[in-house]
């Protein structure tokens, strides 16, 4: 499989999977990126902000609020996301190349 310039969506060919599987794959890939983003972002929060974050995650508000909160509190939050997408993309591309999928 030629993985050059393909993003995670294309690498996993999510649109060519059965709906449920595609949805699951999307969730898992996004979770990997988000995990990596959190690992980098949370240590950047002040003690006070970390407490606020903990309140959010244990509260009743929706998960969407997390992104708003982090983008406000973490410097260059979107840059972190972009970088982590790149890291995962490369990792996936390497593994796909190694696994010789499609050959």
């Amino acid at each position: 499989m030629n993985t050059i310039k393909k993003d995670l969506f294309d690498l996993f060919q999510i649109d060519k999977m059965p709906p449920e599987k595609g949805a699951e794959m999307l969730d898992r890939l996004a979770k990997l990126v988000f995990q990596a983003v959190l690992v980098r972002a949370l240590p950047m929060l002040s003690e006070e902000d970390l407490t606020a974050y903990e309140k959010i995650v244990s509260g009743n508000e929706g998960g969407d609020i997390l992104f708003q909160f982090l983008s406000e509190k973490v410097p260059e939050f979107n840059k972190i996301i972009t970088e982590e997408i790149g890291v995962l993309r490369r990792e996936v591309a390497d593994k796909i190349e190694e696994g010789e999928i499609d050959k």
Binding site: Q13, F34, G63, L66, L70, E72
Partner: protein, 751 residues
């Protein structure tokens, strides 16, 4: 002056009483009000006249002379011809009207072209004016729409949307391979998280954040749940880099605005990817109900053609995003619905409704002015709403996902606040789950039923083999999952809460787990239980104690906190016996023969003398990798000769298996065990724990290892470069269990 104003208002009020029309309606009707009222007046007179003709009912004195002027017989014939034809009826009214007018009025009428035609026109103008007003209002708010639509039309003119939406599927084998790749990365990342240098607070923060996101929109009914799942899908797409033109937090903030983000123009790079709408949209559920196939086909189109880029460029904000939704769905509609819900079609139906109403009048049904006004307002409102919807979707149906997107975008933009019925309409739409060629839009609020929590059977989890609160709550989650499956539509709030919350967190909420305190865990007596009763109330029943209602069925949060006895189960508050030389390493016993496997001398630190005897996997009974027998201080542990019979070894085996199953009760958690047992040494895990870096998932395991260490006195083997590898967790547990068994204390370490 003020008095004069009051007087004017008084006069107005009197007029209102006379003609039965409210000032609000007059304001809407504007100059046409007089003509409409005249028509009403005619209708009133006609009714009286009909009564006079048809039977011997009361005679209106005022008009009796006029009536006598007509030939009774001719009139009856004419009437028979005219019945059922509203237009003829109106002409008949006109003729009658001429007879009823006083001399002065007649003069006035003569000066006008045709009073009847004017009245008719007045109604039409009144209707058109109202519709135009609504249309105009929307158009003003959506000023950029046309530009966006034009751009999208230009971009998409040569594209076959349906073809784009149904890419060929890849083989199951290939999917499996891709899944395997994903799995290996997940394992690696999890491991990095667990053994990384982050504090446990941060690690738990990461896990909690992921849980929060994972549960976003899960199991939620109706439009809100659907919108959340859509939002999640869009943010997820952004998180993997598919959507880069809009930031993740903007997507999250916009909510259904993300439906736009899911788009991007069919010909664009993003647009092509949005074929996923077909799949993922289809996989999502509306209020627990699967979207029917034909509606599924709508999703990629409804979402896939709106131009987020264009919308953002034009307006840079949510309004633009929403305009994009509207334009996109409009385009979709024009392709698929083919004008079924165009303004023309709606107007046609509106005319039919008005015609029908006129026929009712023609058939002799009587209406007061108020009733006529009410009926007309009803007709207007109904088709006005249709036109608003139609406008939003630019001719698309109200039934199906397109309407849903639009409805939520209206909600998001505040446009929908004027149309309080829209939510009800959507609910009805969801109920119908199909596209009907002639949808009935009118929904009475009283028809909407409030879901009632049905009665459920008791679901219980009993701590009957020494589990703690967390493990028992996990068991409760497992039992509830079996009872409810994935469909939480009718589940009580409490059940949803339990199923969507991590057991550790749940125990914390119930006050049964207080990390950071010396006595951190609730003391659970064997036989105590958690129970969710028929109404969803969550109770903790303590053996020989009283029941505590922890959560009510209608709530999604703990209502009462456990205040009973707490215990220090992880030894965090006590001294862990650390005399590492007190116990010597046990000899490894062959579980089959019961004989020692290898005798090891401990004389110096060189050569192979310090190699561990072959480790026996307590589960498989097979040899494991050789390891060194060296303690934390780098000193050699002198092995004990443990004399365990085959039966005793069997008991060790059973305790080992049961305890691991207990610590990792679910398949998912067992996966984490499989992962950690091969990748982290026992020593390292315990070190991380001392540093406060172990995440909640592994805390029960570490507590168990600490307990084994305390009772057996056996420490994990240390890694010494070039000499030994660190001891794996299963090896360590096995050794320690054997020692404990030899000491006759196996019961003490059963979980």
């Amino acid at each position: 002056m003020e008095n004069l104003d009051k007087k004017d208002k008084g006069i107005e009020k009197n007029h209102e009483k006379q003609d039965g029309v409210t000032p609000k309606v007059k304001k809407i009707m504007g100059k046409n009000v007089e003509t409409v009222l005249k028509l009403n007046s005619m209708l009133r007179r006609e009714r009286v006249d009909t009564i006079k003709v048809g039977d011997s009912g009361p005679v209106n004195e005022e008009n009796s002379d006029n009536y006598r002027e007509k030939d009774h017989e001719d009139f009856q014939k004419r009437r028979a011809r005219e019945l059922g034809n509203p237009i003829n009826k109106l002409y008949r009214l006109k003729n009658m009207n001429n007879n009823f007018e006083t001399e002065n009025e007649r003069k006035e009428e003569v000066s006008e072209v045709d009073p009847f035609e004017e009245a008719k026109k007045g109604i039409k103008d009144f209707i058109d004016e109202r519709v135009d007003k609504v249309k105009k209002g929307y158009e003003e708010k959506d000023a950029e729409k046309d530009k966006v639509e034009e751009l999208i039309n230009e971009e998409t003119k040569d594209v076959d949307i349906q073809q784009e939406s149904t890419p060929p599927l890849i083989s199951p084998e290939k999917i499996k391979k891709l899944e395997k790749i994903l799995e290996s990365i997940e394992e690696q990342r999890d491991l990095e998280l667990v053994i990384g240098s982050l504090s446990s607070k941060i690690k738990n923060g990461v896990i909690s954040g992921l849980d929060k996101w994972e549960n976003f929109g899960k199991g939620e009914e109706g439009v809100k749940g659907f919108a959340k799942r859509f939002t999640k899908m869009a943010v997820n797409l952004a998180l993997i880099g598919v959507i880069s033109s809009i930031s993740v937090e903007k997507l999250a903030e916009a909510g259904i605005g993300t439906a736009t983000a899911l788009s991007g123009g069919v010909t664009s790079y993003l647009g092509r990817k949005m074929a996923i709408g077909l799949g993922i949209g289809g996989a999502m559920e509306l209020g627990g109900k699967k979207i029917p196939d034909k509606v599924k086909k709508w999703i990629p189109v409804a979402l896939g053609v709106a131009g987020v880029g264009a919308a953002i460029v034009f307006s840079g904000g949510l309004a633009g995003v929403l305009a994009g939704v509207s334009a996109g769905t409009g385009y979709a509609a024009s392709k698929l619905i083919k004008g079924k819900f165009t303004n023309e079609q709606i107007t046609k139906r509106e005319e039919e409704a008005k015609q029908k109403f006129s026929e009712r009048i023609g058939e002799g049904e009587t209406f007061s002015v108020k009733e006529i006004e009410k009926e007309y307002i009803k007709i207007l409102k109904k088709y006005e709403n249709q036109k608003i919807w139609g406008k939003l979707l630019d001719g698309a149906t109200k039934l199906g996902v397109g309407a849903l997107v639009s409805a939520v975008s209206m909600e998001a933009s505040g446009l929908a606040r004027d149309f309080s019925q829209h939510q009800l309409i959507i609910d009805k739409v969801i109920e119908k789950e199909t596209i009907s060629p002639e949808p009935k839009i009118e929904v009475k609020p009283e028809e909407v039923t409030i879901p009632v929590i049905p009665q459920h059977i008791n679901v219980e989890a009993i701590a009957d083999h020494g589990q703690g609160a967390i493990s028992t709550l996990r068991e409760l989650q497992h039992n509830l999952k079996e009872e409810y499956g994935d469909n939480l539509e009718n589940a009580p709030e409490s059940v949803r809460h339990i199923l969507n919350t991590d057991a550790h967190k749940l125990a914390q909420e119930y006050g049964m787990y207080k990390p950071g305190q010396d006595a951190e865990s609730a003391f659970i007596k064997s036989g105590s239980s958690f129970r969710v009763d028929e109404s969803g109330n969550v109770t903790y029943h303590e053996v020989n104690g009283k029941d505590i209602t922890l959560e009510k069925g209608t709530e999604n949060t703990a209502s009462t906190s456990y205040e009973g006895k707490m215990a220090d189960t992880d030894n965090s508050g006590g001294m862990i016996k650390d005399d590492i030389n007190e116990y010597k390493l046990p000899e490894q016993i062959d579980p089959i023969t019961g004989e020692p496997i290898i005798q090891v001398e401990q004389t110096d630190l060189t050569g192979d003398k310090y190699k561990l005897p072959p480790q026996i996997d307590p589960v498989t009974g097979e040899s494991m990798v050789q390891e060194e027998i060296i303690n934390n201080d780098g000193n050699v542990n002198i092995q004990d000769h443990i004399n365990l019979s085959s039966e005793e070894l069997g008991q060790v085996h059973a305790v080992y298996t049961e305890n691991i199953n207990h610590i990792f009760p679910t398949e998912k958690l067992m996966g984490t065990w499989d992962h950690i047992k091969n990748n982290i040494s026992a020593e390292r895990l315990m070190e991380i724990n001392k540093e406060g870096g172990v995440i909640d998932t592994y805390k029960p395991l570490v507590s168990y290892m600490d307990k084994l260490k305390e009772i057996s006195g056996i420490h994990p083997i240390t890694k010494i470069p070039l000499i030994s590898e660190a001891e794996s967790i299963p090896n360590y547990i096995n050794r320690a269990l054997q020692k404990v068994a030899e000491m006759g204390q196996l019961e003490k370490v059963k979980l």
